[in-house]
Symmetry: C2
Subunit: 268 residues, 2 copies
């Protein structure tokens, strides 16, 4: 709560509403433009990354590429980051089995520096939580410091699918990191037909610092080429709905840019 | 004409109808599926490359990336192939000023070998004619031999926008190459409203070996994000038209696969 008090928001319900996977498809970028919400993060290896323009954009650090297409490649040469055809591994398991931490660090630095050529990033998060392996989490938190970009850190690891052997060390790293932790909300796995109910239910949350990750995409043929298009469209239609907007308007809308500004003195 | 005689097509009108820029967008791939024509080539650095499936696919060797998005990066590390943000240069001029031939060779080999992981390529051509600089043309023709992939070689360099200083050496290389040369047709630069007329006019061509490059793309929001969408859609609508199909049916349809087979004995 220290951050909220510093921001004078100690007793409020505060929400960072975050658009994941920008730069991956035209449909994802189109939803970002159509919704008019400032905060999201960009998959820099994505072909549509240079087209994202916005007020509060971060780097959606990418180490996996889970669909047949669009399929993404690392920016750097690390052999432990790619499959036989040169793409990122398609699963977290394959990544975590092979990835060498020094090659991950080189790749993440390249993604951050490429992002800085495209826009002015405010924060870091990771695609599919690829840095949950503790030695990669250490890299993630160290780069956040090095580049002065606020990293997403959830307030609990429960329900995030972290492999049990990673938990103690990951929890220790997160507890020691000099960054705020957020209550992580993510409707991705809910059935699309329950999406509107999920968003309307936010009205009942108590005060606190919430982070809501959504994956909104426009209903287009390209958007629907992704196997999980239905959950992306469900986010888009819900967040475009006036009743959901009315619920969201009851929260103080926080940006990572404002958080970064508040932490200004704290960067090592 | 030697090739046509070997194929028993000496007096015929023979057409390789070629779909350029596959793998660049979902709309381009979608048009390839919808038209059901076998021959085209894939931009391997494109995010949609792994989704292309077809009977006569080649490698659309890529050294430039001319749109703000989708924007493509080299597969290899060569500094002379990328701009400050790590993308291919956006113009041929910028490419030709900077590109080192040995870095081009490494990149083109990587694209061919990555393509071989995705499909079974039959031929080579190049995006925007990036290998017209003579030392790069030498690499292109050498790799065609090395990988046994038939390279596109036009029967004349007139009207292709080759910088005059490149012409003598380029003409010599092409004349010496042990590959068939084709009469190159490309409606890309024609106004879209003249496209149907262009295709219908093919009915009046004399016998010979023709190569027609088209850039068909579906009329979708993603397809229309490309500044040149109108010419791509014009190709798509023309080639989907029954009257154009009737004109095309008067040609013997040739694939690069058949050409490759006919050249079998000739590979050094």
């Amino acid at each position: 709560m220290e951050l909220l008090e510093r921001l004078g928001l100690g007793s409020r319900r505060v929400l960072i509403l975050h658009h994941d996977d920008l730069g991956l498809t035209h449909a994802q970028n189109g939803a970002y433009s159509a919704l008019g919400l400032p905060t999201g993060s960009v998959m820099v290896p994505g072909a549509w990354a240079p087209a994202v323009r916005g007020a509060d954009l971060g780097v959606h650090l990418t180490l996996t590429s889970e669909w047949q297409a669009p399929r993404l490649r690392p920016l750097t040469a690390g052999e432990s980051l790619r499959d036989e055809a040169g793409y990122f591994p398609s699963t977290l398991e394959a990544l975590w089995q092979r990835a060498r931490a020094e090659e991950v660090e080189r790749e993440l630095r390249a993604q951050i520096e490429a992002a800085q050529r495209l826009f002015s990033p405010t924060h870091l998060d990771t695609h599919q939580g690829a840095v949950m392996r503790p030695d990669l989490a250490e890299v993630y938190l160290r780069l956040a410091q090095a580049y002065r970009l606020v990293p997403l850190i959830p307030d609990t690891l429960e329900g995030l699918g972290v492999p049990p052997p990673f938990l103690p060390e990951l929890e220790r790293l997160m507890a020691e990191a000099p960054f705020p932790r957020v209550r992580f909300l993510d409707p991705y796995g809910l059935p699309p037909e329950e999406r509107l109910g999920f968003y309307l239910g936010l009205a009942h949350l108590p005060s606190g610092l919430y982070y809501l990750a959504h994956h909104s995409a426009l209903p287009t043929p390209e958007g629907r080429a992704l196997p999980d298009w239905a959950t992306r469209e469900a986010d888009y239609f819900a967040l475009a709905h006036p009743e959901v907007r009315r619920v969201l308007a009851e929260f103080h809308p926080l940006t990572w840019r404002a958080v970064r500004e508040a932490l200004k003195e704290g960067w090592r």
